[in-house]
């Protein structure tokens, strides 16, 4: 099937897939011939995790049209449950991909269940209640995990809350209260992150293009009209929200498995907002935009290290400039003129670029 026959959405989706795959291949080649800096190489897995976070939040914010301010909370729920499972598995097997896949599934399921519990009461309401509740939810998860102690020894898992009363015979602490996860099996890899991005994109694109997806978008655009034609508001909202939470949980496992230690306060309100910034900057409902924004904004602070203390100041300026520029009509006009000129040349030569 050539690009021309496909409809517009499919073509756009294919371009997004192609972009991700090409980026992956380029990076792999760079790693292969050793020309990638260790700074960038160290950031590859976090970038993948942030991309998944961004596209999953885009499902809630862009496609469903509900504001969520606690997306990092789902990341946290998935990360901590998934890594506990990964730690248990790593005592029995050395198969890293297997450990990662199983712990990701567990992390995703746990985050989905949590998302379901949060969503059931809140998504029945109309208005900004989801924003308020998810904001509180993120803090609650942080508070719980900060006081959670989980240990593992020969006889199994030991759990205690608030006070560390875990008694073990020759075991290890997996979650150690405010110290967080301290013995993480580092099973994450760039390839795994790449595959996770593709899977999530596949799920989201297919959902958006399905009957359910159209129902979800109808709810976003006009809730009353959608209700009047018999769309079940809560069910469809919940569907999008739970899928989004599950993906965040898997991203959490991927992110955490890349580091040797992660604390609960890593997944705080700031992280939730950071991911929301990726989504807003990339464009609501625009998955490709989210991917680019997440990548650029994750790499940017590190690239700006040469500014030393003024790093975050420059970061903020760049952010503001980006937001203004992408909405500037004059600039848009100028660029569209350049593009149409280029296209004019192309069509003169080949006469086929009718995009």
């Amino acid at each position: 099937m050539s690009l021309k026959i496909m409809n517009k959405t499919t073509r756009s989706n294919m371009i997004t897939y192609a972009m991700v795959i090409i980026a992956f291949v380029i990076v792999q080649v760079l790693i292969g011939n050793g020309s990638i800096s260790s700074r960038l190489q160290g950031q590859l897995v976090p970038i993948c995790a942030y991309i998944v976070m961004a596209i999953s939040l885009n499902l809630t914010v862009g496609v469903l049209g509900e504001l969520s301010l606690g997306h990092a909370g789902f990341m946290s729920a998935g990360a901590f449950s998934g890594i506990v499972v990964a730690s248990c598995l790593s005592q029995n097997t050395d198969n890293e991909p297997l450990i990662l896949v199983i712990s990701m599934i567990v992390g995703g399921v746990v985050a989905a269940i949590v998302g379901f519990l949060v969503g059931v009461p809140v998504l029945r309401l109309s208005g900004d209640y989801l924003a308020i509740v998810t904001l509180a939810f993120g803090e609650i998860i942080k508070g719980i995990v900060n006081n959670l102690y989980v240990g593992l020894d020969g006889s199994g898992l030991h759990v205690s809350l608030i006070k560390n009363t875990v008694e073990m015979t020759d075991g290890t602490m997996l979650i150690n209260g405010p110290m967080g996860l301290t013995t993480i099996p580092r099973v994450a890899s760039f390839t795994a992150g790449f595959i996770l991005i593709l899977v999530c994109l596949f799920v989201i694109f297919n959902l958006v293009n399905s009957k359910s997806g159209r129902a979800i978008m109808a709810l976003r655009d006009n809730r009353i009209a959608a209700q009047s034609v018999g769309i079940n508001v809560t069910n469809y909202k919940l569907m999008a929200f739970v899928i989004s939470a599950a993906m965040a949980g898997m991203a959490g496992v991927l992110f955490t498995a890349n580091f040797s230690t992660v604390v609960a306060s890593k997944f705080d309100f700031n992280t939730s907002i950071l991911i929301l910034v990726f989504v807003v900057l990339g464009g609501l409902g625009n998955m490709r935009g989210s991917i680019i924004a997440a990548t650029v904004l994750t790499v940017l602070p590190e690239v700006l290290r040469s500014f030393s203390d003024y790093r975050m100041l420059v970061y903020a300026i760049v952010l503001i400039v980006m937001m203004l520029a992408t909405n500037n009509p004059t600039l848009k006009q100028g660029i569209s003129m350049i593009i149409s000129k280029l296209k004019g040349k192309n069509s003169a030569k080949g006469g086929s670029a009718n995009v």
Partner: protein, 395 residues
């Protein structure tokens, strides 16, 4: 389709424009401010470290950077072995610390100062271990930093030691009969000391009558915890926390007319230098610290004078630990005959050999000789100090 392409293009253009515009001015100033380069252009051993140079915990990161800079300048002035120091910002975050560490690796770091604060230090220590780059942390005090890593050593004493030492000190000196504790339960440093303190207090038969907790989000008001301690009749308040929160506790306790004895750990150090804090409130506060800026020995006097001259403030124990780190590395490098053209891995093996056998005496070792054990923990003993007339006096 058209609109989206345009958007992306605009974004890309602005970004490249912004980056190229700023990149020019950034690199020039950088070399002067951030690096302490070798004096005579000879090849220098590259030492890198990460720390919170911006954000809430930046006092610690900046102190370490400044303390280390003074030591490096002194070492380079000797004319022998040359050091080059670079500190990167990690904003007290494990993820950013790993990024900062990788940046230093790209720069060609041969010896690592690991990280300043505990959580980032645990994360970068794992990278030290994987990359076989020797790490000596000035102040990453959590046990996880050195645990199971043969090439990561600590210059500060570890958190559990402080908890145990505090309980023993209180018990031996009979400082209090009824003890209250206020600790920060989302901070590994504070929670770590608290846990060991309680264990030891239990063993020594100390009576703990009140336990209060707080978190980063609630460290402005301590009236509930203080009232609880007061109502329980506590005559000694143990504060295993940093001085910023401790200063508020002292002020609020004073306001409510509650005057128990206060006992802090090394995080309390710095309270006298805190801006806007009435130092009269800190009179009689006891603390355990490895370093006192008022010590009479020649080395401390020299360090404090230089620090004040250069940065206009009294150094705290973080600066002193960093100063000692550089000198410990200097001593080890000289003993082992390390040269600047060796790889990080070669230096790593020589350093492990040195640090497992070396004896070191510095500003923070309390006038005695310190050694390191197999786990990478230093043997120094916490010193009990009491604040009298705005200065530390040994107990």
């Amino acid at each position: 389709m058209k609109m989206k392409t345009k958007k992306k293009l605009a974004l890309g253009l602005v970004l490249t424009m912004g980056l190229t515009m700023f990149a020019g001015c950034g690199n020039g100033g950088d070399a002067k401010t951030d690096d302490t380069a070798a004096t005579d252009g000879a090849a220098a051993i590259k030492i890198g470290g990460t720390g919170p140079l911006t954000g809430g915990a930046s006092i610690y990161g900046i102190a370490v950077k400044q303390g280390a800079e003074i030591a490096v300048a002194e070492v380079n002035a000797e004319g022998g072995l040359q050091f080059e120091l670079k500190m990167e910002d990690d904003a007290h975050d494990a993820e950013k610390a790993v990024n900062a560490y990788n940046t230093l690796k790209d720069w060609g770091m041969q010896i690592s100062l690991n990280s300043v604060t505990s959580i980032p230090a645990s994360a970068t220590a794992a990278e030290n271990f994987n990359d076989r780059i020797f790490g000596l942390t000035p102040s990453g005090s959590a046990p996880d930093v050195t645990k199971d890593k043969d090439n990561v050593y600590q210059m500060c004493f570890s958190d559990p030691n402080q908890g145990t030492a505090s309980a023993q000190y209180i018990s031996e000196q009979k400082l209090g009969t009824k003890i209250a504790v206020i600790y920060k339960n989302d901070d590994p440093y504070s929670a770590g000391i608290y846990a060991k303190f309680m264990e030891e207090a239990d063993a020594l038969g100390l009576e703990v009558v009140s336990e209060g907790t707080f978190t980063t989000d609630s460290q402005n008001d301590f009236s509930v915890q203080l009232s609880d301690a007061k109502n329980a009749g506590a005559d000694l308040l143990f504060l295993p926390i940093y001085y910023d929160a401790a200063s508020l506790i002292l002020t609020q306790a004073n306001n409510m007319g509650y005057a128990p004895k206060f006992f802090g750990v090394d995080g309390m150090d710095g309270i006298l230098a805190l801006e806007g804090f009435d130092t009269a409130l800190a009179e009689g506060v006891m603390l355990l610290t490895p370093f006192s800026a008022d010590a009479e020995d020649e080395a401390t006097k020299n360090f404090v004078a230089k620090y004040q001259e250069k940065y206009g403030e009294v150094p705290n124990q973080f600066a002193a630990d960093a100063y000692d780190c550089i000198y410990a590395l200097y001593q080890a490098c000289n003993n082992a005959g390390v040269t600047a053209d060796m790889t990080a891995e070669e230096i790593n093996d020589l350093m492990i050999e040195q640090f497992s056998t070396m004896e070191f005496e510095g500003l923070t070792t309390g006038g005695a000789v310190a050694t390191w054990n197999e786990a990478g923990e230093i043997s120094k003993v916490p010193q009990g100090m009491v604040i009298q007339n705005g200065a530390y006096v040994g107990m």
